[in-house]
């Protein structure tokens, strides 16, 4: 036992030394030209490997950033627009109906604009889904999840484009009956609203949720760290190899500077700095796009949709009070969702202006309900159409729309900035690695030539 313990280190420790000695002695044993050739081959290999790794990294980030801008952004913008346009149509159709046969021209125009907007956006989103499905079929993209998500969005879009005409048809019948003074019109409007809320809005919401998730994942891919860290470490390692090589050369060739290796080193440094700074800038822009852009847009959009739904409820209660108070109950449910209490949709927007306006609207709505319950239906209708409730809702709606617009612009600008930071980066990495190879070849071949 004791002997084996004593012997074991003696036999094991020398092994690496021997191996290193063997490697070194083999190198020492070679002639200088042979060693130079070996070094050249090694440097070429390393430069090309670095170039490939840097280009791959650049391409990954660039394509993810391009995805954020090119597909995810427009698609989630379309989904958001479909969602809010349809919600607005619901509210406006009910409000216009409330006015009776002589509905205000501007309400009619706004309803038509909402429907046209929704139709255009559905078509645009369908085209984008088609193109992104084509993209996902290309090699290099993970085949597992994206096509499935794309087809689910496709199904939702099919529901939207199929049911939108049914909805407008029902609203049209409701208007026609209402114009004749028939209570049947209210039943058609109720059915239309139920179709919108039960089928169209869930489909739009589903697209929006999926697209937001896709946007977040594309953004996360563009701003993710692992690959860039590997690339930077590899770049630094290559720089160290070049430095050691030039030291070795200066010892063996008695020249202080090898201009070829210096060129290779500078090219490597430039490419490394470019890669790192592009990433830092692009990442900053994309994170800004998310934090100051898409996240607030989402918060404002959700608040606006809830507000629009409550607004539709307000009108529908006045149009068709079946006695079961279902629309008023829904109004109160939306009011609770909207807030502005902690955890509410308005709290998520962080807009104190919107919060104050919402409170004012709730007050006006409460007064309106009291009027209606006290059998003063005409006064309640006036409040909902042109009075306190209408005005206070319009102010809230304007604030929320403005919030969406402002943050949408921030998102667009920052996301484009993020994408542009990666422009030409992959090509630049390849060119830089070729320059490095050329530098190594030039620098070492001049030394080799001296041995001929």
């Amino acid at each position: 036992m004791t002997t084996s313990v004593g012997v074991a280190p003696a036999t094991v420790t020398p092994a690496p030394a021997v191996r290193r000695a063997g490697w070194r002695s083999r190198l020492e044993g070679e002639t200088t030209p042979a060693r130079l050739r070996l070094l050249l081959a090694l440097l070429i290999l390393l430069c090309l490997a670095w170039g490939a790794l840097a280009a791959l990294t650049a391409d990954q980030h660039a394509s993810a950033a391009a995805d954020v801008v090119a597909v995810s952004e427009p698609l989630s913008l379309d989904a958001e627009q479909i969602y809010t346009s349809l919600s607005d149509a619901d509210a406006i159709a009910a409000s216009a109906f409330l006015a009776g046969g002589l509905e205000p021209a501007e309400a009619r125009q706004r309803y038509q604009a909402d429907i046209a907007q929704a139709a255009v956006r559905i078509e645009a989103a369908s085209a984008l889904v088609g193109s992104s499905a084509a993209r996902t079929e290309m090699p290099g993209h993970p085949a597992g999840q994206t096509p499935a998500a794309g087809s689910a969005v496709g199904d939702d879009l099919a529901i939207l484009s199929g049911q939108l005409p049914v909805y407008t048809d029902e609203v049209g019948t409701a208007r026609a009956d209402n114009r004749l003074g028939l209570p049947l019109g209210a039943a058609y409007l109720r059915e239309a609203s139920a179709l919108l809320r039960g089928t169209l809005l869930p489909a739009a919401s589903d697209i929006y949720t999926r697209e937001s998730a896709q946007l977040t994942s594309a953004s996360a891919q563009a701003t993710g760290l692992p690959l860039i860290v590997i690339a930077v470490v590899a770049g630094l390692a290559l720089g160290y190899v070049l430095y050691r090589s030039s030291r070795w050369l200066s010892r063996h060739t008695h020249r202080v500077v090898n201009y070829g290796l210096l060129l290779a080193g500078l090219a490597g440094l430039v490419s490394l700095v470019w890669l790192a700074s592009a990433f830092v800038i692009g990442r900053g822009d994309l994170l800004h796009a998310q934090q100051q852009g898409s996240a607030p847009v989402q918060a404002f959009a959700r608040a606006e949709v809830a507000a629009l739904r409550a607004h539709a409820d307000e009108s529908l209660t006045l149009i068709d009070n079946k006695g079961d108070d279902s629309y008023q109950e829904d109004y109160l449910a939306q009011q609770k969702l909207l807030g502005p209490g902690p955890g509410s949709l308005l709290a998520a927007t962080g807009s104190s202006q919107a919060a104050a306006q919402a409170q004012a609207w709730y007050q006006a709505h409460k007064a309106l309900r009291e009027q209606d319950d006290a059998a003063n239906h005409p006064a309640a209708v006036t409040s909902a159409q042109t009075g306190d409730a209408a005005r206070s809702f319009a102010r809230l709606s304007a604030t929320l729309s403005e919030g969406i617009g402002t943050h949408q612009a921030t998102f667009a600008a920052s996301a484009r900035g993020g994408r542009d930071a990666f422009t030409g980066l992959a090509v630049g990495m390849i060119v830089a690695s070729l320059v490095m190879v050329a530098g190594c070849v030039w620098g070492l071949s001049r030394r080799l030539a001296e041995y001929r």
Binding site: G101, T173, G181, P183, K322, G323, D324, A375, H377
Partner: protein
């Protein structure tokens, strides 16, 4: 229109189900015995005869003490002091109680009855003397018993079952269940719609009768919703009180009412059992309407000519 008993009284519901089932069997037997005869009438009688020995729904109300008078300390005096009468009404039944899109007011035959009661209480026809509260079919009895409304005018059939919870005025309108189909339909009665979809509101007895006739019942929230389904081709027919069907047919000239009366549906105004003096007061008002021509004028205005004679009042005591 009849509505099912309120939830919360299961034994009563169970009783009704048993009775309906026996009525169904009776009807089926009648159909087998005499094909061509409408067996439904028998079935309906069986359904509405739970207390056949003691209860006549059309002669259950309290006799008025002469012309309507607001006596001090009475419920009418309280309403007058309050300044307005609270009435539970329908907002979706064309011609009986509906929100007129043109005027923004609730109007109809039922509403005229309420206005007459308010006029008698306040001595003037100021529209502000009535606060209308739109209620659903299912809310009619609870609204009365809880005191949320003073009176309900809501195409409401007087039944013995309901008389256990609330009081009714004398009969102010006689309706009967019939069937509404599209003009090009070849059906002549509910029996011709065997296996086809027929619409009625959830909570109405009309649904049970549709089932009893082997048609497929489709339940919706309101009667106008039924007309939407009929126009969209989702149902073949609508079956309920002819008074309601008339209102639907008036909104769509491409429909027609078919068949013989399947049931008798005497309508009354519902009032809480707490205020018998108000029941007598309302009956006095109705008696005035019958005799001074207002009932006929209202009928002619909302339901058209020819105007039948008003239902004669019968009282229990």
């Amino acid at each position: 229109m009849n509505a099912r008993p309120r939830p919360g009284v299961p034994w009563r519901r169970a009783l009704l189900v048993v009775l309906a089932a026996s009525g169904l069997a009776l009807g089926a037997a009648a159909a087998a015995a005499a094909p061509g005869q409408p067996p439904v009438v028998h079935a309906a009688r069986a359904v509405s005869a739970p207390a056949a020995g003691t209860c006549d729904p059309t002669a259950s109300s309290l006799r008025p003490y002469g012309p309507p008078q607001v006596t001090s300390g009475s419920f009418m005096a309280k309403v007058r002091a309050r300044g307005y009468l609270i009435a539970g009404v329908d907002q979706n039944t064309y011609r009986f109680g509906f929100l007129n899109p043109l005027s923004g007011q609730i109007e109809g035959f039922d509403i005229d009855m309420i206005r007459a009661v308010a006029n008698a209480i306040f001595g003037n026809s100021d529209p502000k003397t009535v606060h209308f509260k739109a209620i659903s079919d299912a809310q009619r009895i609870p609204s009365v018993t809880s005191g949320a409304v003073d009176i309900v005018a809501h195409t409401m059939t007087i039944t013995c079952d309901r008389l256990k919870d609330i009081d009714f005025s004398s009969v102010y309108f006689n309706a009967a269940q019939k069937v509404l189909v599209l003009k090009n339909s070849s059906a002549t009665s509910l029996d011709d719609l065997h296996g086809q979809k027929v619409c009625a509101t959830s909570g109405s007895d009309s649904l049970d009768r549709i089932k009893a006739h082997q048609a497929v019942p489709v339940a919706v929230a309101g009667w106008t919703d039924c007309l939407v389904l009929l126009q969209q081709g989702s149902v073949t027919a609508i079956s309920t009180d002819d008074s309601i069907l008339d209102g639907l047919a008036a909104q769509d000239p491409w429909t027609k009412i078919i068949g013989k009366p399947l049931t008798s549906e005497p309508y009354g105004l519902a009032i809480s059992k707490q205020h018998p003096e108000f029941v007598r007061f309302v009956n006095a008002v109705l008696q005035q309407l019958r005799t001074d021509g207002q009932w006929k004028a209202s009928y002619a205005h909302w339901l058209g000519n020819p105007v039948p004679p008003p239902p004669q009042a019968k009282y229990a005591g």
